[in-house]
Structures are given as C-alpha cells and as structure tokens.
C-alpha cells in the first residue's frame, strides 16, 4: 500500500516538474517565480467557507504556475494546525497561505517556518497584532470597523432604526468576531439614538454560539427567553446567522436577523423573507489575492512593509493593485450585501 503511494507520489512530482518548467517560462515575464510550492491551510478542512476560499487560491495558483496543496486539520484549533504547519516545514514548501485558527498558539510554529525560509501570508484570520512580524502581510476583507458598522447598518435597516439589539457570535475567543463587535458598540449608540443594546452595553449583549449549530440555536432561544422584546439579532458568523434564521422560521418569531452569511446557505431564508439581508465578502477573492501576495513576496518583488503594494491577476483586465496599511494588513474592500435582488446569482458562486 505504501509502495503504491510512493509510486503515485513520484509520478505526481514528475508531472508537476514538467508543468513547473513550462510555467517558469511563463512566470518570468510577470515577476513571479514559477513552480512555487504553496500550502493553502484553512482553519479546518471540511468547512464550506474555506472550500470557497480554496477555490480562489487554486485559481491563482494555476495562473502563476505554482503547485498548490490544500491541507489542514479537521478541528479548528491552534494545536491541531501546528501539526500541519510542521508538515509544511518538513515537506519543504516555499509558501504558506494560512487562516489562523488561533491568533497566538500558532505563532511559535510560524516563526519556525519563517526560519526555514518559508514565506507566510495570513488570509481571512490573522495572528495577534503583537506577532505581526511572523507573516509578510495579512489579507483581510475590510477593517473591523467597517465590517462591524456595516452590520449595524443592516440591522438598523431591518428594524426601522429602533429597538434593542443582541449579538450571536462564534466562540468567546474568536478574535475576528471580537474585533467586529467592539466596533459595533460605539457606532450604534452614536448613529442610531433610538436603538440600544439588550444588555445595556454591547459587551453584555453578546451570546456565544461557538460556531456550533446546536449551541447557536440554543443561544438564539436564550436571547428570546431573556429579552422577549429584542428587535434584532446580529450574527457575525456564518454558522450563527444560519442557525438564527432557521430557528426564527421554526418559531415564527418576529425578530430581525442579519449578519455574515454564505449566500448559498442563506438563499432559502432570504427568498422566503425570513431574513432581509446579509452580507459577506467573497472568500474566493481572499484566497486568490493571498496567493498572489505570497508568491510575489517569495519572489522578492513584494516586501510587505506599510505602504508597499502588490498586484493580483494575470491579464490587463483582471490586474488589481493592493497596498499594505498599518500593522501589515491589506484590505480587499467592503463586504457585499445579499438580498432578494441578487441572492440567486451569488448563491451559485459561493
């Protein structure tokens, strides 16, 4: 069994080598080294959002003639991800594009990878700001402020700009969600004086669904039980907003729901009116741009310092330039919103 695997592996390497040499001829022109070995590592494989993320990454890999592998743990923990970071080191990858399952726990492993000469770019979820040096840049959709405030705007539209609001989040330790929630608090108070948080402050109004369907559903019920007059629930996580929509429909509740939702999952609830509007960036773009950034960094044309820029796209029509902002973060742009008018189109994409 293992011998067979070895033979298959040799065959793959041989073919890849041929493809690589062909690509090198191409890639020289665009400034990216050809034949780069790139590892694409999600928080966990088996999550639909990251399957879309990988779609974008794979597309970019083909364009630049790199060999890409999608690998990662089955549970989204830092300890599990570290095992796969080591695999990347041992198998002599050139580049690692990673969505950090834990913003602190993977940092020592990332530093080891860097010491081994691997170029690292985080995408979708970054490491802790204090560890910014461990990666070249972070490709994030939009700043936490913009994502958080956008969600407040969506819920305000759904509730007629009045009423009390609760938040159904992911895990208590989820760094992304915590940052977005922190931005929601002052914005709501400032822009929508007729709206409030169910618990007084935003911190007291957050319920943790742990990105688990059962827990998120129970927390939705808990919100309704504790605050029967709640007007709207923001769920800045795809698992949470799906569970909230499901449970709202099941109980024929009147609370408004919005948040970050995958269009393919939320389509039934938007079509039947349970949910007015959700938003999300395109994870395909996140993966796509991250690969270009990492490949250019590995080729020496992009340093990742604040103010430096890189491009993504291999034709004149698709080529776009991105600039690094403070903290080494590159933003892609505001999230898209999905409602009845465009849900069908987007549901087919991701």
């Amino acid at each position: 069994m293992q011998k067979k695997l070895v033979r298959v592996a040799i065959a793959i390497v041989a073919v890849a080598g041929l493809v690589g040499t062909a690509a090198t001829a191409n890639a020289g022109a665009t400034g990216i080294k050809g034949g780069l070995k790139i590892a694409i590592m999600p928080k966990a494989v088996n999550i639909g959002y990251f399957t879309a993320w990988n779609k974008g990454a794979t597309k970019a890999c083909k364009e630049i003639g790199a060999r890409c592998t999608y690998l990662g743990p089955t549970t989204a923990t830092g300890a599990a991800q570290v095992q796969f970071i080591n695999q990347v080191i041992q198998q002599h990858y050139n580049v690692l594009v990673i969505s950090a399952a834990d913003q602190n726990a993977i940092v020592p492993a990332l530093n080891k990878a860097r010491a081994a000469g691997i170029t690292i770019v985080t995408s979708d979820a970054d490491v802790d700001p204090s560890a910014a040096a461990s990666r070249v840049t972070a490709i994030l959709p939009a700043s936490s402020t913009r994502i958080g405030t956008a969600e407040v705007d969506w819920i305000a539209a759904a509730t007629g700009e009045k009423g009390s609001i609760a938040v159904l989040s992911a895990a208590a330790t989820a760094a992304n969600q915590n940052a977005w929630i922190a931005a929601m608090g002052p914005y709501l108070t400032q822009k929508y004086p007729n709206m409030s948080w169910v618990g007084g402050t935003v911190d007291k109004s957050v319920f943790y669904g742990n990105d688990d369907a059962t827990t998120s559903t129970q927390q939705f019920d808990a919100i309704l039980a504790q605050y029967p007059k709640v007007a709207g629930i923001i769920s800045p996580t795809t698992v949470g907003v799906l569970a909230a929509a499901q449970e709202k429909k099941a109980k024929s509740a009147t609370v408004a729901i919005t948040g970050l939702g995958l269009p393919s999952q939320m389509a039934p609830y938007i079509t039947d009116g349970t949910v007015l509007k959700v938003g999300l960036w395109n994870p395909i773009d996140l993966g796509y741009v991250a690969v270009y950034a990492a490949a250019e960094a590995a080729s020496g044309t992009f340093k990742g310092t604040t103010g430096s820029s890189f491009y993504a796209g291999n034709t004149k029509a698709t080529k776009k330039t991105y600039t690094v902002t403070a903290g080494g973060i590159t933003y892609l742009g505001d999230p898209f919103t999905f409602d009845k008018s465009n849900i069908a189109t987007f549901a087919a994409i991701y």
């Binding site: 999550i47 959002y49 019920d221 039980a225 799906l242 099941a250 393919s264 999952q265």
Partner: protein, 326 residues
C-alpha cells in the same frame, strides 16, 4: 406518611424528577417566561435528540457497556438523509438510509463487543473516530440546507401538537416503548442481570452474546433515528454535526439513574435526567448568568446531580431489597 415517602424516594427516578421540579420552580419564579408554553417548548426541542439517543445508551449501560459512537453516527445519518433527500427522494427512503447506517454501525460494534469480546469503551471509541473520519470525507465542506430536508421531517421538526413539539413526542414514545420492554419482556430484563453480575448471568443460562449484540444493534438503530431528529430540529447538517453528543448522553443517563456500574436504570429515568440537564442549561440563560460562568456552573450542577443520585441510592438500598416483585 414516612413509609409512603420513603417508598416513593425508593423509586430510583423520583429524586431526579424532584430535582427537575426544583430547577423549574426556582427559575420560573425568577423568570416566568421560562415556564411558559414557549419556554417549555424550548426545553422539549432541546432535549429531543439526546432523549432519543439515551434510549439506546440505556440498553448498553445497564449491561455494563458503553457506546461512544452515538454522536458520530447521528451526525452522519443526519447528513446522509439530507444528501439522499436532496436528490429528490422521499422521507421513506431517507429513513431507510438512516436505519441502514445506524444498524451497520451498531452491528459492527455489537459483533466486536459481543462475539470477539473486545472492551466496549475501546471499540466504540474507535468507531467514534472511524465513523467521523468517513463522515468528514463524504461531507467535505458541504452543508445540508433547509431545502434539502425532506418536507415531512422538516414539518415534524418545526411543529407541535398541543404545544408539545412532534420530535419530543416521538422521543417520548420511544422512551415509553423501551421502558415497557425493559420492564416486561424477558430478553430486555436479562440486560439487568448481565449488568449486575456477568458471570452469574452466564451460568444462569442467559444468552449473553446474543443479548449484547442486539443491545448494540438497538443503540445503533436509535442513533440513526436520532440523526433524523437532529436534521428535523436544525434543518441543517455538516461534518460537525453530532460532535460531542456522546458525553451529554452519558451524563443524562447517569443523572437519570442509569449507573455506569450497570444493572440499574430505565429509559424514562434517562429521559428525566436529560430533561434536568437541558433545563439547567437553559435556566442559566434565563437567569441571566454571565456567559463566562455558565459552563462552570453547569459542571457543578452536573456533579451535584450525580452525587445526589448516588447518595439517595445508598440510603434506599435496604428498602429496595425488601421490595420483592413477583
């Protein structure tokens, strides 16, 4: 009066039931919504899946075995029903799929534990991982969404009969049925003997291997059914479905009087245990306990429930021996 009380407490399930009442009353005073129709509905909805799985687990635990694979099996079944139904097959075929998967896992577990006499903790821990691994591979990153749920199943998950959710009625019916067979049918009563004294039960002529095999088969089938209820409840399934359910099921059984040492306990006791634990979880929310304290408090209450059950068992033991049933 004292005799009546002591006889009452001697029934193993009464203390758990009293604890349940206590939680409901205390929380209901603080937050009346908790004991309203919708509050009760939430508890019934939340407990349906676990109550179903408890039925199978009771068979297994009374025999002094354990089945850790129930969560993976239920999750896998939930996903497969959605997958098969999503390709335009009806409820009937979907349920067949559920039972098929459940029976297959149960049969493998049963064969290894009953015929090869391998320890059930090891076997079902292994099948927990193997089923989850296969499940992950089959499901990948896909999610079963609302429109892939068979409409009959979806209806059951979202509607109630006289304020009691259909899925709870189904679980309750299963519990009643299982309790009946464990009380009156000979093969099921043998499970108690096997759990109390394995060597003696063998000498007494009980077909231990057959009974053990069927108990695991039943646990597997029940897990399959639990998967159907899981899908009905949440209208979604993905490779994380059912993760960690087994520990909740075991906890509910233990609290409900189904001792891990074997030989005692009934499915309706396990149901009350499940209701108690679910009520506690939801009560903490209804009482406004901080999110960061809920898990710790839950743990303390679980330990207390287990201790209480044990304490009362010790106290009433002499009385039990005197109550001879014909």
């Amino acid at each position: 009066m004292k005799i009546i009380l002591s006889r009452l407490v001697a029934v193993r399930e009464v203390p758990v039931f009293l604890a349940l009442l206590l939680v409901l009353i205390v929380t209901g005073i603080a937050n009346p919504q908790f004991v309203s129709a919708s509050g009760a509905q939430d508890i019934f909805l939340g407990v349906a899946v676990i109550a179903t799985l408890c039925v199978g687990q009771t068979f297994v635990i009374t025999m002094r075995h354990i089945d850790l694979s129930v969560g993976s099996t239920a999750g896998f079944t939930a996903y497969m029903i959605g997958k098969v139904s999503g390709d335009h097959h009806g409820l009937g075929i979907s349920l067949l799929v559920a039972l098929a998967i459940g029976l297959l896992v149960g049969a493998v577990n049963g064969f290894l534990v009953a015929y090869l006499r391998l320890p059930s903790l090891v076997v079902t821990l292994a099948s927990l991982w193997i089923v989850r691994g296969i499940f992950n591979q089959v499901a990948g990153g896909n999610t079963i969404t609302d429109n892939q749920v068979p409409s009959a199943l979806g209806y059951l998950g979202r509607h109630s009969f006289a304020y009691i959710p259909y899925i709870f009625i189904i679980a309750f019916a299963l519990v009643l049925f299982a309790s009946f067979i464990m009380h009156s049918s000979r093969p099921a009563r043998d499970l108690y003997a096997m759990g109390s004294n394995p060597p003696a039960s063998e000498l007494a002529g009980i077909p231990v291997i057959k009974r053990t095999f069927f108990a695991f088969l039943a646990s597997g089938a029940v897990s399959g059914l639990g998967g159907a209820i899981l899908l009905a409840r949440f209208h979604s399934a993905d490779s994380n479905s059912g993760l960690g359910l087994e520990l909740n099921v075991i906890a509910a059984c233990v609290v409900g009087g189904v001792a891990v040492a074997g030989g005692v306990g009934t499915p309706y006791g396990a149901l009350i245990g499940a209701l108690l634990l679910q009520s506690i979880t939801q009560a903490l929310g209804a009482l406004g306990v901080s999110q960061f304290w809920q898990l710790a408090v839950n743990g303390v209450l679980l330990i207390s429930a287990i201790s209480l059950d044990r304490y009362l068992t010790l106290r009433i033991k002499p009385t039990r021996i005197l109550r001879v049933k014909s």
